[in-house]
């Protein structure tokens, strides 16, 4: 079947785009329910303070105010992704730990009354000493942000493979460098919003989320409600990039207000609140020590990476590990010591990011280039030499199932004329290459898999029911396209019901790069189940063996004698006559080692498969102003077989902006616990005029277990585009970057240092 694909692999119009170009697509803030109230949140003005008292009584007296709550109205449950990280009350009652933390909230008939009521809430605080720098926070003298985490160390990941010290001692060259990066802002265009509606003992919720099922579970815990009473409903999401993965304080706030008032409640954050009080990205300090043989083979890596974790655990151990894993999944690292520390500071809550880990990854890649150059190798050679291939094991014993890394390197290099340009670059012009691998799905216990139902309706049209969620990347269309392929029915005939915990089954969500590989596989399996039933009836009716029948254009027909055919709608009706309507179920569970644990057992199969990618950037530095221009960017991606190449390209191009141009533009700026650029003016999201000429290369491979051979699409570029820019900077200047972003002031400082230095 794979050889004669009808629609998979084609550039199809995404099924969600009609609603989006006509303004009909609804997002959370667009919802209006009868009797709906508007919520506003009172936030902490202190980075660190004891809460002595919260009094909401006066707020309740404001006309139009229907409910006012604080953490004392919650159930004393703390959220954490892991049992050992449950430290986030979402509405604290003991102390506040960052400026902007949710403290109390009101719901009123309009926003004006809610704002007025907020000013009447009395909170007594006792300010405490705060700490904002993770290195300072680890010192014995630093204020403790949580009692249970000594030296504010939230998570320590220690990975030890082989004999690092011995290998380093024997290495031909060894180099150690430290790289920093400011945390970025997700800057999704949609500010966070929640609608909560509690009625008849059931709580319905709408919010941008990257996994409705995990969100509902978290809220059922926080609200001490049985899971079936918490229903996260489908809604469009205006971008996530990792920032909508976890339960948010606003979810609890809106839920409590709705439960209290008995009315639907809408909470919409301002842009500033979205930046300060929804999730942020980790600032990182990565020390990278590498030992190489004379021929450029990496023999050992030693890492110390510090993640500024903000006030609470969030995805703690995952965030502390991922940058390392995507690197070891790309390169052969025979001896490794990785120490990752996630450290609490009195800053906003942090989470995973599509581009997470740029200091670590760009640091590794740029350092490798310098070392290779010393050995007479170019970036292409050293990457090909150390890159993993299919069948090999990563350092922590994860098998690489399919691997197009080599192809992405070669194709990106050829397309960019890399070797020549790298060698013969003129002053302050450079070209650089970054590689990475991405796990498609990772261990999430029984939630690692996805299930799907499909029913064929009486006119032969289809309803597809899956937990897969779309944050804008095109997962919904992907599911429909896969179903269309299997069932031989056009995409227009397929209705999708998805990401609604009441009707859909468990799905890992879209934040572990599992949608295409895991979710779509479940869709495929369910549709294949239905397909079998359709074919069984067709076979009887047409009098041809089942193996001879294919489905295409709404018709079941014999491949050998194509005039033996009947519409699928007839077959559907036949099934109804028999009292056996056609339904299919299917599920997919990736082949991963469920014993694997992020902290206690960082070893074993991490993911069902891995995708690979290579980015190449060309840069020009203005010597006088330090401004970097990126005229050209080439991105090559092994995404298995692309289901919709146009959508994959879109992901890659978006990554060039969000990770690539971000390398020279983006970073959160702080004054103590105050975020200085929580807006879309001073936080520099690249604009159309800032983008390079982008060429995307999809290196089609065929993953044995991916749906039609597909793997994740686009994230590799999101995690190596910065490396390409950093390496191009190294090529242009002969130096390594010290801190990202490479804004003009930062670059000029480095150039001046270079002039004054030894070179």
């Amino acid at each position: 079947m794979d050889e004669n694909l009808k629609i998979v692999g084609k550039r199809v119009i995404r099924s969600d785009s009609y609603a989006k170009v006509t303004g009909g697509a609804l997002y959370t803030a667009d919802l209006k329910l009868p009797g709906m109230l508007y919520a506003k949140v009172l936030r902490s003005p202190y980075p660190h303070a004891k809460i002595l008292n919260i009094d909401v009584s006066k707020a309740l007296k404001v006309p139009g105010v229907k409910a006012a709550i604080s953490g004392f109205d919650a159930y004393g449950v703390k959220w954490g992704v892991f049992r050992y990280t449950q430290d986030h009350a979402m509405l604290p009652t003991d102390k506040v730990r960052y400026i902007g933390e949710d403290v109390a909230a009101v719901a009123a008939v309009d926003e004006e009354s809610a704002i007025e009521a907020l000013s009447l809430i009395k909170v007594e605080y006792e300010p405490l000493e705060a700490v904002f720098d993770p290195v300072e926070a680890m010192k014995d003298t630093a204020p403790q942000i949580h009692e249970q985490y000594k030296n504010n160390i939230n998570i320590h990941i220690h990975i030890e493979v082989g004999d690092v010290d011995k290998a380093m001692a024997k290495a031909y060259i060894v180099r150690e460098d430290t790289f920093k990066a400011k945390g970025e802002a997700y800057a999704m265009m949609e500010p966070y919003a929640v609608v909560a509606s509690y009625a008849n003992g059931y709580l319905d919720l709408w919010m941008p989320n990257a996994g409705p099922h995990v969100r509902a579970k978290a809220l059922s815990n926080l609200l001490k409600l049985p899971l079936n009473r918490v229903r996260v409903r489908h809604i469009n999401s205006g971008g996530a990039f990792g920032g909508r993965s976890e339960v948010a304080p606003g979810d609890l706030v809106a839920s409590l207000l709705s439960i209290k008032s008995g009315r639907p409640v809408k909470l919409v954050l301002t842009r500033e609140e979205n930046a300060m009080c929804s999730r942020q990205v980790h600032d990182i300090i990565a020390t990278v020590k590498t030992g190489m043989k004379k021929d450029g083979t990496i023999v050992a890596k030693e890492y110390k990476t510090i993640y500024d974790g903000g006030a609470y655990s969030s995805t703690g151990p995952i965030a502390t590990s991922i940058p390392y894993y995507v690197y070891e999944e790309c390169y052969r690292l025979p001896n490794v010591r990785y120490d990752g520390y996630r450290v609490f500071t009195n800053k906003g809550i942090r989470g995973m990011y599509g581009c997470h880990g740029r200091a670590f990854l760009a640091g590794n890649e740029a350092q490798m280039d310098l070392m290779a150059k010393e050995l007479g190798l170019d970036p292409v050679e050293v990457r090909l030499k150390n890159g993993l291939t299919a069948g090999e094991l990563t350092a922590t014993k994860s098998k690489i199932i399919s691997c197009g890394l080599k192809d992405t390197i070669i194709q990106a290099a050829e397309k960019s004329d890399f070797k020549k340009k790298w060698k013969k670059h003129t002053r302050n012009k450079g070209i650089g290459m970054g590689c990475v691998a991405i796990m498609c799905g990772f261990p999430m216990g029984f939630r690692s898999g996805s299930s799907c139902y499909v029913k064929i309706n009486d006119d032969g049209q289809v309803t597809l029911i899956t937990g897969m969620v779309d944050n804008g990347q095109g997962n919904e269309s992907l599911a429909v396209q896969v179903a269309s392929e299997v069932l031989g029915i056009p995409m227009d005939d397929i209705n999708l019901v998805n990401a609604d915990t009441e009707v859909t089954n468990l799905d890992p969500g879209s934040y572990s790069q599992a949608a295409a590989y895991v979710g779509a596989n479940a869709v495929k399996a369910a549709c294949e189940d239905a397909r079998k039933k359709i074919i069984a009836i067709a076979s009887k009716k047409l009098g041809v063996p089942e193996e001879e029948i294919d489905l295409k254009d709404r018709v079941a027909y014999s491949v050998k004698t194509p005039d033996k055919r009947m519409p699928i709608s007839w077959i559907t009706r036949e099934a109804f006559f028999k009292g056996e309507p056609i339904v299919g179920t299917g599920s997919f569970f990736p082949d991963i080692d469920l014993e694997r644990e992020w902290v206690s057992k960082p070893e074993g199969q991490m993911a069902g498969t891995y995708s690979f990618g290579t980015s190449v950037a060309e840069i020009e530095i203005d010597e006088e102003t330090g401004k970097i221009k990126v005229p050209k960017f080439i991105a090559a991606h092994d995404c298995g077989r692309p289901i919709n190449p146009m959508a994959v390209e879109g992901q890659m191009e978006g990554s060039v902006g969000q990770a690539g141009i971000a390398t020279i533009f983006e970073g959160n700026m702080w004054y103590k616990g105050f975020l200085l650029n929580p807006d879309l003016l001073e936080y520099k999201v690249p604009l159309a005029c800032d983008m390079p000429d982008i060429e995307t290369i999809i290196v089609s491979s065929n993953d044995p277990k991916g749906p039609f051979g597909a793997k994740e699409g686009g994230l590799t570029i999101r995690m190596n585009a910065y490396s390409a820019i950093a390496c191009a900077f190294t090529n242009a200047t002969g130096m390594l970057f010290e801190e990202l972003p490479l804004t003009p002031d930062n670059v000029l400082k480095l150039l001046e240092k270079n002039k004054g230095g030894k070179r």
Binding site: P45, E272, F674, D679, K684, K749
Partner: protein
């Protein structure tokens, strides 16, 4: 983000606008394009009782050639002004600064009057009421300290207008009108050099005309930003050359543009002005790039502008 309560009045004549202003005890703001004003009100940096819309006033939207001057109505949008053939032909510096202002969509809404009279900016000022309350009010908000330079008694907020500096280099004047009558001042006289209240314009006064002598000039505007659109200048340099002389204006650092004259353009005099402007520039950590860097860029941009104009020999 909703706006606080205020009343809205649309004036049909200047007299009506002045009257409305007086009726509200000065707790009123004039509205033109609103691209600077509305965000300030949304952030509760201004709390007007009434907004007086000037867009209905006839005559504030004209461009006329009167004698040897171009008389520009303040309500003309940046985009419209840019299209005027005189601008491109006579004042390339202004043409470039108009072109470099924000983005196309905002150029179509923002007016030249509003652009000149835009408030000064600071990373610790243009924030929500909640943010600023948590941080503590600074000098510009009526507080006692500067939040950027702790012991300072003056405000370092930056004037980020792109076009006032260009206009200054072409000898533009502003005609202001109030109940007491009209007065005409050189554009640079509009600036108070005090970031707390950056303009010398008196309460209720309305900018009626911008008057530019119609003499052909050469010029250039150099603007430093992170992005290629939307951003305010982190440093901006306007240069206009008239025969052997030149005028240089530096914007984006501190509460008012700085103006420099060169009597006779040559490499030495350009370097001297560049050095002088460098010394004058006192940036602080209130914009997205470091102060020292912004200071260093002042002479770089001045020299670039001259080079682009092709004056003073260049490199």
């Amino acid at each position: 983000m909703i706006l606080p309560k205020f009343d809205y009045k649309k004036a049909r004549t200047i007299e009506e606008a002045l009257e409305l202003y007086n009726k509200h005890d000065g707790n009123a703001f004039y509205l033109a394009g609103g691209t600077d004003l509305v965000p300030l009100i949304k952030l509760r940096l201004l709390q007007p009782k009434v907004i007086i819309d000037l867009k209905g006033i006839d005559g504030l939207k004209d461009i006329k050639k009167i004698n040897n001057s171009l008389v520009v109505g303040p309500n003309i949008t940046l985009f419209e002004l840019k299209q005027n053939p005189f601008i491109k032909d006579y004042f390339p510096c202004l043409f470039e600064s108009l072109e470099a202002t924000s983005c196309k969509t905002l150029q179509m809404r923002g007016t030249i009057g509003g652009n000149i009279l835009q408030n000064t900016r600071c990373l610790q000022y243009n924030k929500s009421l909640e943010w600023r309350t948590a941080r503590g009010f600074c000098l510009k908000m009526g507080g006692k300290v500067c939040n950027v330079v702790p012991n300072s008694k003056s405000c370092f907020s930056n004037y980020c207008g792109d076009n006032a500096p260009s206009l200054m280099t072409i000898d533009a004047k502003a005609k202001l009108v109030s109940a007491k009558g009209e007065r005409t001042v050189r554009l640079e006289k509009l600036f108070s050099e005090d970031g707390r209240s950056p303009f010398t314009i008196k309460p209720g006064e309305i900018l009626k005309e911008i008057i530019i002598p119609l003499k052909k000039t050469k010029g250039a505007y150099e603007k430093l930003t992170v992005r290629g659109s939307i951003d305010y200048p982190l440093v901006g340099v306007a240069v206009t050359v008239k025969k052997d002389a030149a005028v240089v204006a530096v914007t984006g650092i501190g509460p008012s543009p700085h103006l420099y004259e060169i009597k006779e353009i040559n490499e030495k005099s350009i370097n001297e002005v560049a050095d002088w402007a460098y010394e004058d520039a006192r940036p602080v950590l209130n914009a997205v790039l470091t102060p020292l860097y912004r200071k260093k860029m002042v002479p770089v941009l001045i020299k670039r502008a001259f080079k682009r104009i092709g004056a003073g020999g260049g490199r």
